[in-house]
């Protein structure tokens, strides 16, 4: 599902995304914003000391887009922002693949930096995504598939915005 209004791009998709295209969307015909900040989240090869071979992202279709739009709306109420893009992938992803893109444009950099971090912080524990990872043993054989537990540090990250 795509929610495209005049400035927000909220996209949940299985396909990979192009950072270059996402950056162009933030900049194209946009002379008002002198700052663009973006973040890309990628699949790491290790988690909690274990070797990860695959990450699978599940979501709650419908609620996900609504929750992301809510987070972007909250960011807009706090900072003067130009364009905002949130692209989040779901489904299976190999290590080193891109998971999420959060990009923000603004007349000045302060707002863009803060808003991008705010959106990422909330997206991690307030949008209905769940991660499952495939773990390998020391011989590189499949050991287990496990759901990733939410981290206290992710909830703690929200406190500074409250």
């Amino acid at each position: 599902m795509t929610v495209d209004n005049w400035q927000d791009r909220i996209q949940v998709q299985t396909a990979d995304f192009s950072v270059d295209e996402e950056y162009q969307r933030l900049c194209c015909d946009n002379a008002a914003d002198g700052a663009v900040v973006f973040f890309v989240g990628r699949v790491r090869d290790r988690n909690q000391g274990d070797q990860v071979s695959l990450l699978e992202l599940e979501h709650y279709p419908g609620m996900t887009e609504k929750a992301l739009q809510g987070i972007v709306d909250d960011a807009r109420s706090r900072w003067q922002l130009g364009r905002v893009s949130v692209v989040h992938r779901v489904g299976p992803m190999n290590i080193e693949e891109q998971i999420v893109f959060v990009g923000v444009s603004s007349p000045h950099r302060g707002n863009a930096f803060e808003a991008a971090e705010y959106i990422m912080d909330y997206l991690k524990s307030r949008a209905p995504f769940w991660k499952k990872e495939r773990i390998l043993d020391t011989n590189g054989e499949l050991r287990e598939e496990r759901w990733v537990d939410a981290r206290d540090s992710d909830s703690a990250a929200l406190e500074r915005w409250e």
């Binding site: 989240g41 992202l57 599940e58 709650y60 419908g62 609620m63 609504k66 929750a67 989040h88 998971i99 999420v100 990422m120 997206l123 991690k124 524990s125 307030r126 949008a127 209905p128 995504f129 769940w130 991660k131 499952k132 759901w147 990733v148 537990d149 939410a150 992710d154």
Partner: protein, 83 residues
């Protein structure tokens, strides 16, 4: 009857993505949680407040007293791990 959607680990552990609860509608969130615990006593720990979050019509709620009816979309799921 109230229908509950389950996601992620909760769906895997309970073995179903949808549970129909034979409880009067409307009910409170805490009644939904209690009915699920009764139906899946081996998974009480996963269904506890804080372990299973609740969304009503795709909006998160912390209110165990919130009212839900058979017309509402009710979902339970583990704490979220996006990004």
């Amino acid at each position: 009857m109230i229908q509950v959607l389950l996601f992620a680990r909760l769906r895997d552990e309970l073995g179903t993505g949808t549970v129909n609860l034979e409880i009067p509608s409307p009910a409170r969130v805490r009644d939904v949680r209690a009915a699920l615990c009764q139906q899946f006593p081996q998974h009480r720990a996963l269904l506890a407040e804080g372990k299973a979050l609740v969304a009503i019509n795709q909006n998160l709620t912390n209110d165990e007293q919130a009212s839900v009816s058979e017309r509402d979309e009710v979902a339970l799921f583990p704490p979220m791990t996006g990004g």
